[in-house]
């Protein structure tokens, strides 16, 4: 049974700083996904990582996947206030079940 864990659960950072959110998963996952959720809103897809070594970047966010370590990271570069949100990673063990991590609540302080 696939399990997905994220850390940290909460992250408060200053604008302009860099930080990384980690996502570990317990068994083989065909794919790894990152989503963003603003308070009271639904989830918005950020990245889909399909294979070992995959790296995707959008603006100040960069996601990577290491399937051997069963680890994905979401790196934030020079954070800005607009990035404040909750970030989720999710795995897919190939059985159509998408299992989500607990989420990382990010707050960027001016």
């Amino acid at each position: 049974e696939l399990k997905v864990e994220q850390n940290p659960l909460f992250l408060s950072m200053q604008e302009g700083k860099n930080y990384t959110i980690y996502c570990n998963y317990s068994t083989t996952s065909d794919r790894l996904y990152w989503y963003r959720q603003d308070p009271g809103k639904s989830l918005e897809s950020l990245f889909v990582l399909l294979s070992n070594g995959a790296v995707k970047q959008e603006g100040r966010l960069m996601a990577s996947l290491d399937t051997k370590a069963r680890l994905s990271t979401l790196h934030i570069t020079a954070a800005v206030h607009d990035l404040s949100a909750t970030y989720f990673c999710a795995g897919d063990s190939g059985t159509y079940k998408y299992i989500f991590g607990t989420g990382t609540r990010l707050k960027v302080l001016a």
Partner: protein, 114 residues
């Protein structure tokens, strides 16, 4: 283009009352359909998923049930709500052939059981 509709957006129900949340997808066929629940300040818990009409897989044994009466319609129900059923309910879909590798979420229903 594909769209997913979920309603109502907000619902306040007394304990012991029934529940019916509906979700429909447009612009695609044979989608995989999902119901997730998010308790306040928590992560997403997969409740049910369906890979076809009448095919429902339950992930969490509780007083909720799901049905898929049509290809693009997914309904979440309860006969008697509990306080612990409060939360943010999200419907989602994905392509059956997995050519687009992600879940698309509806706007969610905020359910408060009082």
């Amino acid at each position: 283009s594909q769209t997913i509709h979920q309603w109502p957006a907000t619902l306040v129900q007394p304990v012991g009352s029934p529940l019916s949340l509906e979700c429909t997808v447009e612009g695609t066929s044979n989608p995989n359909l999902y119901w997730y629940r998010q308790a306040a300040g928590r992560g997403l818990q997969l409740l049910f998923y369906s890979v076809g009409i009448g095919q429902i897989s339950s992930e969490v044994p509780q007083n909720l049930s799901a049905s898929r009466p049509q290809d693009r319609q997914f309904i979440l129900s309860s006969k008697k709500l509990l306080l612990s059923d409060s939360g943010f309910y999200l419907c989602a879909w994905s392509r059956r052939d997995r050519t687009n590798e992600k879940l698309f979420f509806g706007s969610g229903t905020q359910l408060s059981v009082l």
